[in-house]
Subunit: 213 residues, 2 copies
């Protein structure tokens, strides 16, 4: 059983976790980094396939190339927005990839566990869903450690495969930058920037069937 | 900042969360259920699209139909296993869907947020990855509340759409049964059943490039 304070800690991490784009250069201890990776490895996975790997990037040249790939994709995507949304979009930072002491590429190997992974036979994408659960565990652990994380999802997967020498069948699911920050907002950056509003819980919950209240 | 006990609570939830298949009939308070759904709603989402909805099933007839769909798929999948693995596979329970006071169908609407959701333009599956983060939040919150959850991923999505009247473009990502249990194992059920071993952390971590240590 959880004490009240332990339980409060879980909700505190869930409600205060933010997607952070600005990092201080302060180093992270190896022990703390390991704890966060271990939290990722304790995610649920379909058929216990544990499809994730973690490429921990600290080499400045490689971080620079990752930032280049993300910036290239950001500029390509910006073409699809017009006016105010384009400006808001272009103001989003990818420099976090260079600033943060570590960027972790979280990958998913769909072949791990063999041809007939239990559960994945029905819903093949459960492998990347498991990997997303690992990412969420890492994010909450980082939050509990007083660290900030940012999930960059602007890139062409083959650029990341080229830079990090990832085999073609392995998916680079996320680039997670991690570090200390002095810019930790109360609300999601995209909510404050009025990109999107937080939806009301009432609109998201149905009883017994879709659309029923 | 987190106190030591709050931080310990986060890791306790991460390391003790288990996929549970047996539930007691004891009811769950509405307040606790709401807190768990709210934890889900506070997951990260690409472009803040918040693609999830939660269909909370408590009607026994509908739970029975969900269990029927899962059992049908389980029997179909069992054909692909032979010998000992088939027996282990068929011993997996889907009755949890009927036993648990609630089964929550967590869905993902890929159209939410419009045609150009920030980040989803690069990697379309980030919508279901966001939904998986919501599921992980719910699971950890349930654990902190002393509750058990089980993720059922054996089903044909269209069976679940038919039963719960989910629109064709919305993905039924997971069926999450939730309740109290008297069977809460230390280790994953599939690890104890020797279906798969837990992988060593050393095999999962690379430095700067895939395959480098």
């Amino acid at each position: 059983m959880f004490t009240n304070e332990e339980q409060a800690g879980v909700y505190k991490a869930i409600f205060n976790r933010r997607d952070i784009r600005s990092f201080l250069p302060d180093p992270i201890s190896k022990d703390t980094l390991y704890k966060i990776l271990e939290a990722g490895h304790h995610a649920p996975s379909v058929g216990f396939m544990q499809p994730w790997s973690f490429i921990v990037v600290s080499n400045p040249d490689i971080k620079e190339r990752l930032a280049w790939a993300a910036d290239k994709e950001r500029r390509a995507l910006a073409v699809h927005y017009e006016g105010e949304k384009e400006n808001k979009f272009l103001s989003l930072k990818v420099e976090g990839l260079k600033e943060a002491p570590y960027t972790i590429c979280v990958t998913c190997d769909p072949t791990r566990g063999g041809s007939h992974v239990l559960g994945r036979n029905s819903i093949p994408e459960t492998d990347i869903l498991s990997t997303a659960c690992a990412i969420q565990n890492m994010w909450l652990a980082a939050c509990a450690e007083g660290l900030a994380m940012g999930w960059v999802s602007f890139y062409k997967k083959n650029d990341i495969r080229d830079i990090l020498e990832i085999p073609p069948h392995v998916e680079p699911v996320a680039l997670m930058s991690i570090g200390y920050t002095d810019q930790y907002p109360d609300k999601p950056i995209l909510e404050t920037a009025k990109w999107e509003k937080r939806r009301s819980m009432d609109d998201l919950i149905f009883l017994d069937k879709w659309g029923e209240k």
